[in-house]
């Protein structure tokens, strides 16, 4: 099973005030709150941790077919920066940073990877036996994001499998999980889609399960 999530930091700053009273306590474990308090950029840390939880939740939800709002029961352990950090572009503005964590939900434990590039945070997780086929996140602008993310996916699927885009469709099952159909036949593929602010992306892996 797979799951991914992205946060546009620019958008998050505009639409969410995590400094409002009781906000952090509702979402984060004590350990996570300490990480935020100790962070040089607490704003970034809030959304890094949030995207880890969201990616893990999506995978958990597709594995267990459960839905609930339980951010504090999604516990992030061993949140670490990876070594290949701080690659800056020529101007020094665009910083890239990688993170890994283990995320615990009930008796499930997931390895989650996260990247921060400029103001884009992207987290993803997939089970060890899954073969990752495509992993894309792109700047889509201020259009209808859900539609634009779908177009992005169709374009990449068409290119990857040499399919005609008109033969591709997406259908959601009763749990809200999306599946890819080619010529009206369900494909043995796992898909997780995400969009926020100006960005959209998806994760595609082999196998339906």
């Amino acid at each position: 099973m797979i799951g991914n999530d992205l946060v546009d930091l620019h958008q998050a700053r505009q639409e969410s005030n995590w400094r409002r009273p009781r906000y952090l306590e509702k979402i984060f474990t004590r350990e996570e709150q300490q990480l935020i308090a100790a962070a040089g950029y607490p704003d970034t840390m809030v959304w890094l941790l949030w995207s880890c939880k969201e990616a893990a939740y999506k995978r958990w939800s597709s594995e267990t077919h459960q839905r609930s709002f339980l951010p504090k029961k999604i516990a992030i352990k061993d949140f670490q920066e990876t070594d290949d950090h701080n690659t800056s572009n020529v101007e020094g503005h665009l910083q890239q940073q990688g993170y890994t964590s283990w995320v615990q939900i009930a008796d499930h434990r997931y390895f989650v990877q996260t990247t921060l590039i400029g103001d884009l945070i992207h987290s993803w997780t997939l089970s060890a036996e899954k073969k990752l086929l495509l992993h894309k996140v792109e700047l889509l602008g201020q259009q209808d994001l859900s539609k634009a993310t779908r177009s992005l996916l169709y374009g990449h699927l068409a290119q990857y499998f040499r399919w005609s885009p008109t033969d591709i469709s997406i259908q959601k099952n009763e749990h809200g999980r999306p599946f890819i159909y080619y010529q009206n036949k369900k494909c043995k593929l796992s898909l997780s889609m995400t969009h926020h602010g100006r960005y959209g992306g998806f994760l595609l892996a082999e196998g339906e399960g």
Binding site: P21, R22, Y23, K26, I27, F69, L70, K73, S146, G176
Partner: protein, 82 residues
Amino acid sequence: MNKTERIAAIKRIVEPYVQEKAALENLNEETDFLKDLKINSAHLVDIILDVEDEFDIEIEDEAMEKMLTVGAALAIIEEKVK
């Protein structure tokens, strides 16, 4: 406050976070905050805090877990304000 007034209060609270404005017109107890109103899950926290402030109640984690629909929110409010 009766049930209709409570639903109206919930509608007022969620409105700023709703991306699917059309679904707001037919808001009822079955309405799902994430699936139907396309509310960003990070904003569910804001809604929970707003509901706490509006009704002067405290929503514990166990209750919060279920708060995915208007009906679930209504049940939690009714339980708490008793």
